[in-house]
């Protein structure tokens, strides 16, 4: 068994993949090449920060549009979580995030809010596997689950290839998968101090995603903002400080880690199977199945 490590930058963060495999070296590098190709395409299509991206261009379009089928698939995940959060988790939060200061030039200046976040279901209709119908002027942002979706795709490229085990780490969101049921030992980062962990968890074949308000945070007019916007208050969401979610799919784990800032874990049960831990006021609350050890006083 040989171990390989690959690294790249994508979706606004660093991706590291460790692969254990018996395959020929050339085959392993071929799989990584397809991962890179997928990620480059993904980035060029879905970055809100690239004005020429497919996603940015959607704000100038209306009516029925042919779109990549993966976009429809991500919208379906958004619909699921949209229902469970009473409409707070939405891909139409792009304009609000920009207005709060998280814009394509990283201005971090709070501007006038352009208006209500459009109703997702009323303004975006999924026609079929590669067509949607939208109203004009929609500013999409897939930041709440796009990375998780991309992680699932990269993971499946390895699983369909010749990997025996993989550990994918995309900026602290993790997929671990092994044919022989090994576990990975993962520290749960202290959102206030990345040199520390608040606990440790051993994970089998599962995705672990996290969200925290400590990073991607800025101040404007003496108010602190961060990257999770609450469309019901037009402000950054504030109920908890950090979340960790375990789920079979990284796309679900990623989306729910953000959603825990917007809705209760119980309400999110309709989305799928997951376990969670949340940090609030220095206290950890977690579901029974979140089998981690936390360091406590």
């Amino acid at each position: 068994m040989t171990q390989y490590t690959f690294s790249t930058e994508a979706t606004g963060t660093v991706w590291n993949v460790t692969v254990w495999t018996d395959c020929e070296e050339q085959d392993v590098h071929d799989v990584w090449a397809s991962c890179l190709l997928f990620l480059q395409t993904f980035e060029s299509r879905y970055s809100r920060f690239r004005l020429d991206s497919f996603l940015s261009q959607l704000s100038h379009r209306e009516g029925e549009i042919t779109v990549p089928d993966e976009f429809v698939e991500m919208l379906l995940y958004y619909q699921q979580i949209y229902h469970a959060t009473d409409g707070l988790f939405t891909p139409l939060v792009g304009a609000l995030l920009s207005d709060l200061g998280y814009d394509d030039t990283y201005s971090f200046l709070h501007k006038a809010i352009r208006g209500v976040v459009p109703n997702f279901l009323e303004n975006v209709e999924i026609v079929d596997a590669d067509r949607i119908e939208i109203t004009k002027g929609l500013h999409f942002d897939l930041g709440a689950l796009g990375k998780g979706y991309a992680m699932d795709r990269v993971s499946s490229l390895w699983q369909g290839g010749c990997a025996h085990r993989i550990l994918l780490n995309a900026g602290g969101d993790i997929i671990h998968w092994s044919r022989s049921q090994e576990k990975a030992r993962v520290g749960l980062e202290n959102p206030e101090d990345p040199s520390q962990a608040l606990g440790v968890i051993e994970i089998g074949n599962v995705a672990l995603a996290s969200s925290a308000t400590g990073k991607r945070r800025w101040r404007s007019d003496d108010v602190t903002y961060h990257h999770i916007a609450d469309p019901s208050t037009y402000e950054s969401a504030r109920s908890i400080d950090a979340s960790w979610v375990l789920s079979e799919c990284a796309v679900i784990a990623d989306g729910l880690a953000t959603s825990l800032f917007l809705a209760s874990p119980e309400a999110l049960g309709a989305v799928g199977v997951f376990d969670y831990a949340v940090l609030s006021d220095s206290r950890i609350a977690h579901s029974q199945g979140f089998d981690g050890a936390f360091f406590t006083t």
């Binding site: 602290g172 962990a197 049960g269 406590t296």
Partner: protein, 183 residues
């Protein structure tokens, strides 16, 4: 395929629940603790092997279970309110307080017992005893009771042996850091 996808989406959209066929990773699920567990297990067998959107797996019959699960959310909200009320009430001394919270679940009236110790107006410790009658409610209450815990403290990563990775919020990339620094 395309036609059936459209139909499915509309049905699920109306019912408030959309199910996707899988997530691109052929993994097994951790211990399911919530009611939609079986739905996702079934769905995950048909995982995405390529970029094509799969038809959502038949999930209409699961709506009732999922709705029931969602309605149980009142448990947590009500309890939080009680905790806040208590903090205001007992500010001067250490006190122990037991509360039984009643609420209405889809299966009828339920209660959960909460016990807490308050020191100087702050909740020092808290525990909950699941006391639901209905199975679904019992499951939710147990999950919640298991989640109450003490204050977390950080431990230096260098002191923790054998870590394969660290799970946390996205590492801030260069562009973001530089932009903040230049403000």
């Amino acid at each position: 395929m395309k036609k059936s996808l459209k139909t499915s989406v509309q049905i699920f959209g109306a019912a408030g629940l959309v199910l996707l066929a899988g997530c691109g990773a052929d993994t097994t699920v951790t211990e399911p603790i919530i009611d939609s567990a079986e739905v996702m297990e079934e769905g995950s067998q048909k995982m995405m092997e390529d970029s094509a959107v799969k038809e959502p797996v038949d999930g209409v019959q699961e709506d009732a279970a999922a709705d029931a699960a969602m309605d149980d959310t009142v448990i947590k909200d009500e309890k939080v309110e009680e905790v806040e009320a208590m903090e205001g009430a007992v500010e001067d001394a250490a006190a122990s307080q037991d509360i039984t919270v009643s609420y209405t679940s889809p299966a009828g009236a339920e209660t959960i017992a909460v016990s807490m110790v308050i020191v100087e107006g702050a909740v020092a410790s808290i525990s909950a005893v699941p006391s639901a009658k209905h199975d679904v409610s019992k499951k939710w209450q147990t999950a919640f009771a298991g989640g109450l815990s003490a204050a977390a403290v950080g431990k230096s990563l260098s002191e923790i042996a054998g870590l394969d990775a660290v799970g946390g919020a996205s590492l801030t990339t260069g562009g973001f850091k530089e932009a903040v620094a230049s403000l």
